[in-house]
C-alpha cells in the first residue's frame, strides 16, 4: 500500500517550474487544479475525542432519560438545546452553526466513527487518519491517497496545507506545506533574502528531484509573499477571533482566495479530552471550546460566502466520542461513537444522518459507549466521490465499500 511520489508527478512539478521560469504568470501552476470543478476540502480534526453526546444530545424519549440519569452533573438541559429534529438538539454554544444548519448548509452525522476496538487517542487518531483501521504500517494518509488518485491531479503550486503540524492524514504527501500563518512560508531575512533567492534560482535550475523542489519552494514563497505581514480583510464583515482555531481558519481563507491551487487544508483544534469538570458553570469548559468552534467556523463560512462556498466542503471530526456515564470528576472518559459535521454549498444540510443505535445498556458499545453505526469512511467516501470528483475511492480507503448516505450532492 506504499504510495510515493511518482517520477511523473516530479516531472509535472518540474515542467510547471520551467514555465514559470520562462516568464509565464505564476498562477500557471494553479490552472490545472482550478479548472476542475472539485470542491476545496477543509478537514478540521478535534484532537482529544469530543463528547458527541453533549454536542448533539437526545432531546426526547427513553434515550433522553437514560442520558440524564447517566450524566446528572453535566447533561445539557433539554430546554437549552437548539433543535435539529425531533430526536436531537445542538449544544447551545454552537448557535452560530445552528443558523447554518437551518439554512441547509450544515449536516450532522451521529453515531459515526472508527469501527475498531481501541480507546487509545494515539491508536484511534492513527487509524482514522491513515484510513486503514487496524493497520499502522500504512505509509500514507487518506488525504494523501485522495490527492494521489484524483483524476485532476495534485500538481498545483500549493495543493495542500496543514495549519498546525502535518497530520497523519497527509503522511507521505511531500507537496504539503505547513503554515500557521503565511509568514511561515518565507526565507528568514537577514536583509539579503532577495539576493539569496536569486542565487538559489541559479543553483536549483536543474531538473533533479531536489532541484525541482527547490524551484517549487521559491515559487511558493513568491506566491504567498503578498499575504505576508499584510492585514487580511475578510469579506462580508467576518471577524476572526484571536484563538487558535480562528487564526488557522483565517490562514486557510487567505490561501483559498490566493488561487494557488489549494485542494485540501487540514486544521487541528485540540483540547477535547474532557476527563474532568467539562460543564463547570455557565461558561463551562466544553462550552468554551464549542463556542470557539462555532464562532470560528461561522465567520470562516461568512468570509468565504463571497464566491467560494459553492465549491467548499468542510468536515469536522474527532478520534472518538466519550463514555455515556460521567466519571467521578464530572467529566467523561474515552468512548467510541462520535459525531461528524459537514458544511458547504454542496451539503444536503438541515438533517441528522446515521442510524441511531440507542443508549440502553445492551445498545452501547462494550456496555459503556455510544456505538458506531456509520463508519467514518462512509462519510468521507461519499464526499470524495461526490464533491471532490474522485471516483477512485478504493485507492483512498482500500477494501472499504459502503453506499452513500445522501449527505453530499453529486
Amino acid at each position: 500500500m506504499a504510495h510515493t511520489l511518482s517520477r511523473r508527478q516530479f516531472l509535472q512539478g518540474c515542467s510547471a517550474a520551467i514555465a514559470a521560469m520562462a516568464g509565464a504568470r505564476l498562477t500557471r501552476y494553479a490552472v490545472s487544479a482550478q479548472s476542475s470543478t472539485a470542491d476545496m476540502l477543509v478537514v478540521i480534526f478535534l484532537r482529544g475525542g469530543w463528547d458527541a453526546l453533549n454536542v448533539v444530545p437526545p432531546r426526547d424519549g427513553d434515550d433522553r432519560g437514560l442520558y440524564e440519569v447517566a450524566r446528572p452533573d453535566i447533561a445539557i438541559p433539554a430546554s437549552s438545546l437548539l433543535p435539529l429534529d425531533d430526536r436531537f438538539g445542538l449544544h447551545p454554544a454552537l448557535a452560530p452553526l445552528h443558523d447554518l444548519y437551518q439554512d441547509g448548509k450544515m449536516a450532522v452525522v451521529h453515531a459515526v466513527g472508527l469501527d475498531f476496538d481501541t480507546r487509545s487517542h494515539f491508536d484511534a487518531m492513527e487509524y482514522v487518519e491513515l484510513g486503514t483501521p487496524g493497520h499502522k504500517g500504512t505509509q500514507s494518509g487518506w488525504i494523501t491517497r485522495h490527492l494521489q488518485s484524483t483524476p485532476s491531479g495534485s500538481s498545483g503550486l500549493i495543493p495542500a496545507i496543514s495549519t498546525s503540524e502535518q497530520p497523519t492524514s497527509l503522511l507521505g504527501f511531500p507537496a504539503n506545506v505547513n503554515m500557521y500563518s503565511p509568514s511561515d512560508i518565507s526565507l528568514w531575512d537577514n536583509g539579503l533574502a532577495a539576493e539569496q533567492k536569486q542565487a538559489l534560482r541559479q543553483m536549483y535550475a536543474s531538473d533533479t528531484p531536489l532541484a525541482s523542489v527547490g524551484q517549487r519552494t521559491l515559487d511558493a514563497m513568491q506566491a504567498v509573499q503578498p499575504l505576508v505581514d499584510v492585514d487580511y480583510q475578510p469579506s462580508n464583515g467576518a471577524v476572526y477571533n484571536d484563538d487558535e482555531l480562528s487564526q488557522q481558519l483565517k490562514t486557510v481563507a487567505q490561501m483559498i482566495k490566493l488561487d494557488a491551487g489549494l485542494q485540501v487544508a487540514a486544521v487541528d483544534f485540540g483540547g477535547w479530552d474532557t476527563h474532568e469538570y467539562e460543564n463547570d458553570g455557565p461558561d463551562g469548559y466544553l462550552a468554551d471550546l464549542l463556542g470557539a468552534l462555532g464562532d470560528g467556523l461561522a465567520n470562516f463560512y461568512l468570509d468565504l460566502d463571497s464566491g467560494y462556498t459553492d465549491r467548499l466542503s468542510i468536515v469536522i471530526m474527532s478520534e472518538f466520542g466519550r463514555r455515556l456515564v460521567q466519571n467521578e470528576s464530572s467529566g467523561t472518559d474515552h468512548g467510541h461513537g462520535s459525531v461528524m459535521l459537514a458544511l458547504g454549498g454542496g451539503v444536503n444540510g438541515g438533517q441528522v444522518f446515521g442510524q441511531w443505535p440507542g443508549l440502553s445498556n445492551d445498545q452501547l458499545y462494550d456496555h459503556a459507549d455510544l456505538a458506531v453505526t456509520t463508519d467514518y469512511r462512509q462519510v468521507l467516501r461519499e464526499l470524495i466521490a461526490n464533491r471532490l470528483d474522485n471516483p477512485n475511492t478504493d485507492a483512498v480507503f482500500p477494501g472499504f465499500d459502503a453506499p452513500p448516505l445522501g449527505i453530499f450532492q453529486s
Binding site: A2, T4, L5, F10, M21, A22, G23, R47, F122, D123, E126, L130, H135, K136, G137, Q139, E165, Q166, G172, P174, A175, N176, N178, Y180, L187, W188, D189, N190, G191, A194, E195, Q196, K197, Q198, A199, L200, R201, Q202, M203, A205, S206, D207, T208, P209, L210, S212, V213, G214, R216, L218, Q225, D229, E244, G270, W272, D273, H275, E276, Y285, H334
Partner: protein, 575 residues
Amino acid sequence: MSSRKRSTLNRRDFLKGGTLAGAAFLATLVSRNNPSTLAAGEDVFSTFLPLIMQGTGGGGASAPLEVIALNRMAFGPRPGDIEAFRALGNSDEERLTAYVQQQLDPDSIDDSEFETRYAAAGFQTLHKSLEELFADHIVNNPYDENDEAFWDWYSLPIYELVDATILRAVYSRKQLSEVLADFWFNHFNVYLWQDQGGPLGVSYDRDALRANMFGNFRQMLEAVATHPTMLYYLNQNNSSDAGPNENYARELLELHTLGAENYLGVQDPTTVEKDENGIAIGYVDNDVYEVARCLTGWRVDDDTVDGGNTGRFLYYKPWHDRFNKFVLGRYIPADQPDMKDGHDVLDLLAHHPGTARFIARKLCRRFIADDPPDSIVQAAADTFLAYSDDPEQLKRVYETILLSPEFAHAWGQKIKRPLEATYAMLRALEADFTRVPEALPWVIYLMGQGLFSRRTPDGYPDTIPAWANTMSILYRWNLALALTENWLNEENGPTIHVDVRAQTPADLRTPAGLADFWIARLLGRPLPDVSRQAVVDFIARGEYGPDDELPEEDFDYWLNGMVQVVLMAPEFSLR
C-alpha cells in the same frame, strides 16, 4: 482495552504537543534576533537560466572518496576530517579500509572532545537504569498530574535524550556508531512522546539498540521484543490468551524481520511454498495471528495486574496461550517451557533468508543509494546468514557493505534527510555548544524529522521523494541562516555559537577567493560552474569583480550571507 483514568486535562496539553506555541516562539526569536529590516521586493524571474542537465537521482558528478565516506558513514566532515581521512593510507582502498576498521571498532577511538562536552552538559537522567527511570519518572512522579511540572518531569529523560543525541552526532568521532544508532532506532521505531513508557526510551536506545548494534541481530531482536518501550508502543503489554493483540506481532514480521516484501497476503498457511529447511518462504496473515499467540504473556511488570511494578519485562504465564501453534510452516507444540514459543518465533525470523535480504537491502539503502544494486544487497544478505550465530554478525554485514565497490562508486543517489542536514551544518560550521536551545529541535521538527517523533512504527523514510518537499527544503535554508547568524539562541538559555569570520583566513578578501575557500570547506569539492558563479556573484553584489578586494564595511554581513548560500546549495544536501 480499557481507558486509563489517570488521563487529565493536562494530558490534553501534552497531546497537543505545543506545536503552535513552538512556531510562534520561533517567529519571535527570529524577529528579535534579526537586526535588519525587510528587503525590498525583488523580481526573481528577471533572470532566466537554461536548464542544466545533471545525472540521475539527486544528480551531479561523482565526489572524492573522502567526501563519500564522510557523508555516508558519518554526518558530514568537520574541519580537518577530510585531511585526516586522506592521511590514512596511500590509496583510496587503503584509506577506506583503515577508516572502516577504525569506525567498526568504536572503543579504539579517542572521543575526549565529545566526552568533555557530555560531562559539561550535566544530564540528570541519562545514566539511570530502566528500573530507575520507571520508578523516578513514572511511578513516583512527585508532581500533581494536573500541573505542567508533572509532564516536564515525565518527559525530562526524553528531552535530555534529544540533546545528547544531537551532541553525539555532532561531536563524537564514533560517527558510524551514530549513523547506526539512528538507523536502528528507525528500524525498530517507537514514538517516545507517548503517554505510556516514554521515559523508558532512554534505556531502549541505550540497552536494546546501541548495546547490540555491532553484535548479533537475534539478540537485538529479543532485546527489543522484551523492552517495555516497545511492549507499550505496540500494545504487546495488553496481549493475553483471552485477547491476543496482533499489533506487535504484525510489525515484528512486516517491519522488523521479513518485511512487507515477504508478505504473501491472506492465504492458507499450509499451502505456502517452503524452502530447503522446511520453512515457509514468506508469511501470511495466519502467521501474524499465530505469532501473536506465541507472544501472549510477554508484558511489562507494571501495575496492570500482579508483579512488583518494577518496569522490567515480565513473562506472565497466566496470560500465555498454552496450546499448539503453527508459524511459517513450523509446528510449535503445546505447553512448552516459559517463553519458548516466543524464542522459537524469534529464532525462525532471525535466521530466515527473507529477513537477511530485507535487513541487507535497508542497510544498503541507508549507506549506498535509494535503490541499491542487487549485487551488494545479496552479498550483505549472504554475510548476514553466514554469521547468523556470530556475536559480531552485524559488524561483518556493515563491513561487507562499506568496503564494497558499490559503496565507493555511488554518489548523489541520496539526499541528506533533515537530521543529517542539521548535523552536517553544525559540523561544517564548527558550531560550539553543549546543550541545545529549544529552537533547534523545533526547526528539525518543522523540517519533518523531529527526534523520536515518528508516530508510526515504520520509522522515518529513507528515500529522496519523502524528503524533497517544500517544508523540508525551506526550513533547511532557514536553518542555514539561523545557525550562521546565531539566531536560535535564547537569553539565559543554552547557545549554539558560530563565528564565520573567525574561521576565514584573514588574507582572503576577494569574492572568488572567499567563495572557493568556503565551498571547499563546506563541501569538500568544487561546485558546478553555474552554482559557483552564483556564490561569487552573491558576494560581489554587482559592485565588485571576482578578484577585487572587498572593503571592511559590511564584510561580515555579506560573508555570512555567502556561507548561507553555500549551505543552501543542492550539492550540500547530496550524499
